[in-house]
């Protein structure tokens, strides 16, 4: 199309030029004088004619034509917006939002609209998404497999290119790969291969944990196979297979499941660790704990992420987050809030030491002290209870049936009796203990009578009194609500206010407001409130606010989102159940290398407190511990580590302390990375496999809960791969994570991959085999007969036409069809033509409630946590929200030091993302070329600093404000001062995104040739190296012992002028 327009363009210009020229020549033939006088007369005509020409429907503009559009999913940040990629001549020329997806346009273009029609409408995406093209065509991307040059140090920047297949062989086979002696390959770590033995051992290890079996008994039972264990004296550490760690970073759904299949189900290692604790984990864990589902005597987990229904809410509290800068995610949140603001005048407050963009628009900006969110919330809890402003009716409902009677979708444990043991609330009283029922029922008291409660019972409504106490044959118990009230009353409002450094009126006003809009108020929180050592408790306190007004499930209340179709199967409608499609699944067992999801007390390593390094029974994906644990070889040494889409060294507080470990080939003998560029961490790898950018990838991301309808965005390749294409068993494919895993699996002979990988006759040889089956699950739906329509002839044509530019290596319509299954194919095409599947926005609500409400229980008292102990101090955790200062792992408060008078915090810019985009993305770079030390004018004046002055930051943990890359380069935590009004005095903020020392900013030598880096890509600086290290543990930042969150906001710094 454009070719035409291009041909036509000169055609459009040429004659004009010539005519102009002739005419002018005629005039200029005379003297300038003549021409000057005559020209005006003619020029009127000339002008009119010229305008006509420019306008003659010559406005060829093809990029919005359906055949130039492929819908996919953005990954500039992890909000995973649905995007509309416009491709002309095989080049991506523009990205916009997908108007058919409720996440990127409210109201959306009805999903049933034909792609031809839908093409005219655009959805909304943020500046990062708009700048995606710059990221896709980043000239610093890696295209070939790189290997650390033998004889050179990790991080030395010396590489040799290596053939993909050779690299895979070396990684699997091991050997003297770097002239540094023998390196064990994956095959040497893939020791336990017999599923039966594994099964038996796993079962017995479970017994050992429950103290139902001794190590000696285990050793005698498995005498023949003890060799497969990391340490026969500690069988609970699991098989040697666990010494392979897959550090998955920011891995995306779709790839995540693939990684788990590879690592857990096929290779038999328990160690897949994602990035979540440097992200927002304590937020997730707080929600998960408080929505933990009681199922026949077991706590089976709950929702990790809920949000205010910002489209209809009438009052919102944002704790340490907002709607227009970060969070999940700017496009949908901004759209809904702005519309709500304009049409219903929603009132909102932002609690943030920094005047964020959202705070700058808020009705109240409350610049509270960092880390005091829990105190503020508990202050509100106290006022609400003291003034009886909570929703008693809601709180008294003790089970599903009672809730239903009140048209509520959720209920709480407010009335449940909690046993007090050794003076502390320990666990919920069970009905058998109270002699009123079974041990899987709980107990409430109604008018002095004790009643058993089955929380999930939908028939027999049970309500309980909020304030009840039980003293009966040695049992002492009180209702969760009463315990909460007492906890809240441990401090006066004045004390709360003082802890937060705000006025008491603020707390009262917020509490009053919060309880003045019925169910249409909500409290939202994210990183700012939880990436603290007290993050979990802060989260619990804030969620408690929502529980007190019982806003969950209501229009304008708290929402869990519409959810998604089960792309990996398991529901009746899904054609493919991936879990079952594995010929021989490995029961991976043992303690994880970062000791998450495990209780210290249960392990055979337990010999009293403190543990050598912390254990994390309540959380998962404890990212910051992965590498330091390998450094200490605790609980066991790591032999092979894969690093994917993460740069822990750069993005983790005090992450620089991990560099020396990564460089130590004794601690991590084989380090393999998969990255799009040579990143801050992948630069230390032994092998670096290039990955396709997200525009070249498949993926099945999940939308944030603020999307109230069911959505399954589907990521699919939009342009041809920019990485090298390889041939694996006769199949062309681009080098990317999938190709790498499939090749390694085949080389190792792992079940679940290659021929019959999905079971007899169903092979797994190409990424298509994986993702198109997932697409089929989405297309056919969860319930029977829930399939999307089959694509008609014209849609089929469009589908192919829009992909003519894609090479066989990623797009082969027959291959795709077979992978998806011929019967499902037309439905799959229907989904792919729309970038996934979604319910329309008119299905968001049913009357005054959400269509997909969270229907379950909220726990005011969290039993599981109350049962746990801090593995370092040995002290018990608390089942109730608790106001706590920032602490080291051993529970000694961080305290304050006059030498370091400022609290350092960090934040995200709306036009910056993860560790990407700015400043390497030149379009975004122009919006903010470098970050700064943002401080209040009063502080600047005190220090005699002017805007633009250069300063360095230093902390107790990093008194020099320097860090060492271990390759001779020492960098400084140094930047310009930015002076603002919108910052709490005494607090300074440094934004994320900047200060890269790799990612295309540094030179590298490949095959002896110098590949120049672009130093401008390292502009600005990262504050992470000054964040406090937990020196008692070593080489790791302060961490929330419950939620596992890395602490980003608990460090005091001094500001040194340079």
């Amino acid at each position: 199309m454009t070719d035409r327009s291009q041909k036509e363009n000169p055609a459009e210009q040429q004659p004009m030029e010539r005519r102009d020229f002739l005419r002018s020549a005629a005039f200029l033939g005379g003297t300038g004088l003549l021409s000057g006088v005559v020209a005006p007369v003619f020029s009127q005509m000339a002008h009119a004619q010229r305008m006509a020409e420019l306008d003659e429907g010559k406005h060829t503009y093809v990029q919005n034509d359906p055949e130039h559009i492929i819908y996919s999913v953005c990954l500039q940040c992890h909000t995973s917006c649905s995007i509309k990629c416009k491709v002309v001549n095989g080049v991506m020329v523009k990205v916009d939002g997908n108007a058919m997806c409720p996440q990127n346009r409210v109201p959306n273009v009805p999903y049933a609209t034909s792609p031809e029609k839908a093409a005219v409408a655009e959805g909304k995406i943020c500046p990062k998404g708009q700048a995606g093209i710059e990221t896709l065509y980043d000239p610093h991307r890696v295209r070939k497999v790189l290997k650390r040059k033998p004889g050179t140090k990790r991080g030395g920047g010396q590489w040799v290119t290596i053939d993909f297949h050779t690299a895979v062989k070396e990684i699997v086979g091991g050997g003297d790969l770097f002239g540094e002696g023998r390196v064990e390959g994956l095959k040497d770590v893939y020791v336990l291969r017999d599923r039966a033995i594994a099964k038996a051992m796993a079962a017995d290890v479970a017994k050992i944990k429950k103290k139902a079996m001794t190590v000696e008994e285990f050793k005698s039972t498995h005498a023949a196979n003890l060799g497969v264990l990391i340490d026969p004296n500690h069988p609970d550490l699991g098989p040697k297979n666990n010494q392979f760690v897959f550090l998955a970073g920011r891995i995306q759904h779709g790839r995540n499941e693939l990684m788990k299949r590879f690592t857990n189900a096929s290779f038999g290692s328990v160690n897949t660790i994602e990035h979540t604790t440097i992200c927002e984990q304590s937020h997730h864990i707080a929600y998960k704990a408080m929505t933990d589902k009681w199922d026949e005597g077991k706590w089976t987990g709950g929702k990790t992420h809920m949000k205010p229904d910002v489209g209809a809410v009438r009052f919102v509290l944002f704790f340490g987050t907002g709607f227009s800068e970060a969070n999940f995610g700017p496009p949908i949140l901004s759209q809904l809030m702005a519309e709500n603001l304009a049409t219903n005048g929603v009132k909102f407050a932002v609690l943030d030491p920094r005047l964020s963009r959202s705070a700058g628009k808020a009705d109240w900006w409350i610049p509270l002290k960092p880390g005091s969110d829990g105190a503020f919330a508990m202050g509100m809890v106290r006022w609400i209870i003291d003034n009886d402003r909570m929703d008693r009716r809601y709180l008294e409902n003790a089970n599903a049936a009672a809730a239903k009677d009140d048209k509520e979708t959720s209920w709480s444990t407010a009335a449940y009796l909690v046993k007090i043991q050794d003076g502390r609330p320990a666990r919920y009283l069970r009905a058998d203990e109270a002699g009123v029922g079974t041990k899987v029922e709980f107990v409430v008291s109604r008018g002095g009578r004790l009643l058993p409660v089955d929380p999930n019972n939908k028939e027999k409504a049970v309500e309980g009194d909020l304030d009840a106490t039980l003293h009966k044959d040695g049992i002492e118990a009180r209702t969760a609500f009463a315990l909460l009230r007492d906890r809240a009353r441990e401090m006066t409002l004045a004390q709360y206010a003082q802890t937060c450094g705000v006025s008491e009126d603020h707390i009262v006003e917020m509490a009053k407001r919060f309880t003045s809009y019925g169910k249409q108020a909500a409290a939202e929180f994210y990183r700012g409130a939880v990436q603290h050592t007290n993050g979990y408790y802060n989260g619990q306190a804030i969620i408690t606010l929502n529980v007190l007004i019982g806003n969950s499930g209501w229009k304008g209340g708290l929402c869990a989102g519409g959810g998604h179709w089960h792309e990996f199967g398991g529901s009746p409608g899904n054609p493919y159940d991936f879990k079952k499609m594995h010929p021989s699944k490995f029961p991976a067992f043992g303690v994880m290398s970062n000791r998450e999801k495990n209780r210290f007390e249960d392990s055979t390593l337990f010999a009293g407190y403190p543990a050598k390094r912390p254990w994390y029974p309540f959380t998962s994906n404890v990212y910051q511990e992965a590498i330091p644990s390998a450094g200490d070889g605790y609980p066991y040494p790591v032999k092979v580590m894969f690093l994917h889409m993460g740069t822990p060294v750069f993005s983790t507080p005090a992450g620089d302390k991990q560099i020396s470990i990564l460089q130590d080939t004794k601690k991590i003998p084989l380090l393999v990375a998969c990255d799009v560029v040579i990143g801050e961490t992948s630069m230390y790898a032994d092998y670096l496999f290039p990955d396709g950018s997200f525009y070249e990838q498949f993926g099945t991301p999940h939308s944030p809960p603020v999307v109230l309808t069911k959505v399954s965005p589907f990521r699919q390749p939009v342009v041809g791969p920019l990485t090298e294409t390889i041939t694996l068993d006769g199949l062309e494919m681009p080098i990317n994570l999938e190709a790498f895993l499939i090749a390694v699996a085949k080389q190792l002979g792992l079940p679940g991959f290659g021929k019959d990988g999905f079971g007899p006759g169903k092979s797994f040889n190409h990424q298509d085999d994986w993702y198109l089956k997932a697409a089929a699950n989405i297309a056919m739906g969860d319930k029977q007969g829930e399939a999307v329509p089959a694509a008609g002839a014209s849609e089929m044509q469009l589908f192919a036409k829009a992909r003519t530019h894609l090479p066989k290596s990623i797009f082969d319509i027959e291959r795709w069809k077979n992978a998806a299954g011929a019967d499902y194919w037309p439905h799959v095409v229907y989904v792919l033509n729309r970038g996934g599947r979604s319910e329309d926005t008119d299905k968001m609500y049913k009357g005054s409630t959400q269509s997909h409400p969270y229907s379950g229980m909220f726990q005011l008292f969290v039993e599981t946590v109350a049962q746990g102990k801090n593995s370092i101090s040995g002290k018990s955790f608390d089942g109730l929200p608790r106001v706590e200062p920032a602490m080291f792992a051993n529970e000694t408060p961080v305290g304050s030091d006059k030498e370091y008078p400022f609290r350092l915090i960090t934040f995200k810019e709306i036009f910056g993302t993860q560790s990407r985009t700015t400043p390497s993305n030149l379009w975004l770079d122009e919006l903010l070329p470098e970050n700064a030390v943002v401080m209040n004018r009063l502080d600047a004046e005190k220090l005699g600093l002017n805007p633009g002055d250069r300063v360095r930051l230093a902390s107790q943990a990093n008194t020099e404000g320097k860090y060492n890359l271990g390759n001779g380069e020492v960098r400084r935590v140094e930047g310009k001062v930015r002076v603002v009004e919108g910052m709490r005095p005494g607090v300074v903020a440094v934004s994320w995104h900047f200060g890269h020392w790799a990612s295309g900013s540094r030179d590298a030598t490949v095959d002896g040739q110098l590949v120049k880096g672009d130093p401008t890509r390292s502009r600005g600086f990262t504050p992470n190296p000054v964040f406090l290290e937990d020196t008692g543990i070593g080489r790791v930042c302060l961490t929330d012992p419950i939620g596992g969150s890395a602490s980003f906001y608990d460090t005091d710094v001094k500001i040194i002028r340079v």
Binding site: P110, K124, W365
Partner: protein, 258 residues
Amino acid sequence: MSKSEKTLDRRQFLLLGGLGGAGALATAGIADAAASNEQNQGSIRYGMVVDIRKCVGCKSCAVACKAENHTPPGVAYSVVMEQEIGTYPDVRRRFVFRPCMQCATPSCTKVCPTKATHIRDDGIVAIDYDRCIGCRYCIAACPYGVRAFDYGHDYHSAPTPYENQPSPEYGQHKRRARNTSPIGNVRKCHFCLHRIKKGLAPACASTCLGNAIHFGNLHDPEARCWVHGERLRSLLASHNNIRLKEELGNNPSVYYLI
């Protein structure tokens, strides 16, 4: 079909729209389509209504503009101006999106010696790159500082595939090459004329996160925003609206709701 017919069925559509999200949205779809017909009608004056109360300062508009028009480094058709108002702790942040005002009495067209910069019947002030001599008088004369001279910078020393693609501006598909237009020309926001011609709203308005940029025909009393479907006149009537530097008499086509 005649104008009245068209506005009629558009209104019916909105009626439906009022009932369900789907319809309301479709306003967009339809408004777009309808708008494209508007091309053939007289008395068009394209304009914007920017609701700065809703602007969240994300700058997606500015980046979308770049991507859409392939503007080189050093050329920005639109910017979002930020301001901090007040002193601690009583502070607010204000964001103002500033495209070309498409003045009805523009300073730029007046001074342009070659009429390269000209005002179209639809109110859009466009530039004929093949006539512009690059004298920059228009830059000196524009009271809103929206015009930019193309000095010929490029983002990447070796152009990326994207950079090698022509810009769709004015439907001319000019490829970037040294010393050829638009290098050496003055450039500016043209309300994405090439998109309007196809019935598509400007790139900035389409992606606006705060639903703050409204676009449509200011002359048609019934005209609705191409993106969000609101009736433009109602919007203007519903809040205080101002135009920048009203006193200069340029009669801008961009209104701000405050």
